[in-house]
């Protein structure tokens, strides 16, 4: 766990303690789950238990909420989340073929993570970028007016960046050795 994550986790624990004293502790639940997902990328079971204990809400209730809303992931996700917009405008402009391209390129089905842990493929409800349909969102960045080639190019950019980072880290480690 990085320094940043530890700090964020601390902030969540403080937010939970504050929520417990509120007149309506449950009303902070979804906000807290958002923060948990922000740290871990998904909702780990142990964290749900911790939230349950601190807020004095049954884990079953939290599980019910977490499974109801599409935004929450119950499994670990890849480093980059690729969400293909399946809104009406994107649909009309060929989102289905963008999704097919991605399935083929990444070799995974929707909701799954690539074996190298780099990408998780998701379908998204309208991302609200209908003017530049079809679109996909990688993490928080939107890519619009996609076709098959452009989609693959974008994925390759991320792969390249990850590979470069890896070799840079490798070089760093080698240099660091006596």
């Amino acid at each position: 766990m990085t320094q940043n994550q530890t700090e964020k986790l601390q902030a969540i624990r403080e937010a939970m303690l504050a929520a417990r004293n509120d007149a309506h502790p449950e009303s902070h639940l979804i906000g807290i789950l958002h923060k948990v997902q922000d740290v871990f990328g998904y909702l780990p079971r142990e964290m749900m238990d911790e939230v349950a204990q601190t807020l004095e809400i049954p884990t079953a209730h939290i599980w019910g909420v977490a499974t109801f809303y599409h935004y929450f992931n119950l499994e670990p996700i890849g480093r980059h989340v690729v969400s293909v917009c399946m809104g009406t405008a994107c649909y009309v402009k060929g989102a289905a073929s963008v999704l097919e391209t991605l399935k083929k390129e990444l070799g995974v089905e929707v909701g799954k993570t690539t074996s190298d842990g780099l990408f998780t493929l998701q379908e998204a409800r309208c991302l609200g970028a209908c003017g530049i349909a079809p679109v996909m969102m990688i993490d928080e960045k939107i890519y619009g007016q996609l076709d098959s080639k452009k989609t693959v190019d974008i994925i390759n950019q991320y792969r390249k960046a990850a590979a470069e980072e890896k070799s840079a880290v490798g070089a760093e480690t080698r240099r660091g050795k006596p």
Binding site: S27, F68, F72, L127, G131
Partner: protein, 597 residues
Amino acid sequence: MADKQYKLTFCDGSGCLKNHAREFRQLFEEELRRHQIQQNVQIHLSGCLGMCTKGPILIVNPGYIMYGNLRPEDAAEIVQEHLVNGRPVSRLIIQEDHLYNRFFRIFGDSEFFGRQMRIALRNCGVIDPEKIDDYLAMRGYEALAKVLTEMTPQQVIEEVKKSGLRGRGGAGFPTGLKWEYTAKQSDPEKYVICNADEGDPGAFMDRSAIEGDPHTVLEGMIIGGYAIGSRQGIIYIRAEYPLAVQRLKKAIEDARREGFLGERILGTDFSFDIRICLGAGAFVCGEETALIHSIEGFRGMPRPRPPYPSVSGLFGKPTLINNVETWANIPVIIIDGADWFSRIGTATSKGTKVFALAGKVRNTGLVEVPMGTTLRDIIFGIGGGIPNGKKFKAVQTGGPSGGCLPEKYLDTQIDYESLAKAGSIMGSGGMIVIDEDSCMVRMARFFVEFTQDESCGKCTPCREGTKRMLEILTRITRGQGKPGDIEKLERLGTMIQKASLCGLGQSAPNPVLSTIRNFREEYEEHIHQKKCRARECTALLSFVVQDNCVGCGACKRVCPVNAVSGNRKEKHSINPNLCIKCGQCYDACKFNAIAKV
């Protein structure tokens, strides 16, 4: 505000001169020197502006604030309040100056913007949304000041009622009445909610409105809070809109710092604060009772109404819920007046409506037009028509709750009643243009797949009914449609409409029923002739190699089932018995030699 640059234009025509314009200007320049801000101000003289009865006239930019009927003693006030404190002097701004005018002055000379009338979006594209000073320069928070100092809550409600404003979320309930019902409740604890859970696929009005001008939503909500007697506002917004959330957070902080939010707003006894509550990706949470459950920390499931939220809403307290666009209209109604506002639009639908124009249309984007504009004006006028020489087929309004209207309805005037009469709904403002390349059965299937997936599962008609509809539609698009399917869809649809618990379920069959009503022949072709005229349902197509094939072999290489045969440099052929209609050969052919028939 000492660093801000202003450009002042004094009318120097003979009409204004007769009204002592020069004396006024001299006094004004003295005031500038007294405040030592002459270096921040550029002064221009203009010829006659033609508004001689209102002279002397002074225009201040940025903001294009036009002052008229100026008297010598006003000079000191304008310099002090507007140029030094950044707050335009509203009592001197002349009447013709409506808030929406600013947008028009900047963007009005293009085809796309010139045909629009921007009230809710008046500041989008005009101000820097992260600068509260920019909003203030556009007479921002002036409506709030007016309400708090000059109007009783009852007068505010009367003004909103008189304006004829109706809910912009889609259902069109009169806003003033909703306010009145909530105000009447005697419970001292009440809530104000802004519904920014914009979930319709193909709609992005609320996102753009908040990203472009977050303060107007806050101002509307604070005024609503004052009118009904609430201390707490909540904005429920989709987590999928990070930029909008970030801008709202900044706007709330800035408004608190400037005294527009928090304890004793603008020195009055009224206190009000706003917090943000993030949604988590559930379409049904746009329904007000589901939204309330979601804020309370539960699964977002609707409940039967009554009691309406105005009586028993968040935490069982009276709650006023309005949509983003509705809130954005409030400051304009207060400043420019209900009389002015109600002159725009049709007999039953007042003001303007924002639409998210998308799909097969040249100019996609947000458009705001007066109620009563025709669909044709929007699609072919502002939207610039259909690209690539294709033919218009239908326009879909109201998202998954709405319907598809064919060409014969293009001259329908947009208002709540006319769209309903034509078989669609106003909805929150999604407007998707469909051309001849789209299959209407698939379109209907797309929406049902959406509502089926988003159905919360609480009531059976919606949960099971949409599932059965989806099965039938899927079968039809796969070429397995049976006689009687259309009638079955109609029967199911009517039943779901009548028996579902909430708006999502009641409106879920609309896309199917409206396409059956307007495009029945396409359904029949799919079922009886196994034909898809838009060539979208691949299962109903066969791929045929045409005579211009050069025999390059590209199709043969990509075919996953070896259905393509032929020698090099000779015409190839596809074996229909092996072909799985994946379409890869069609994409791979560089000579357009493969046809879908």
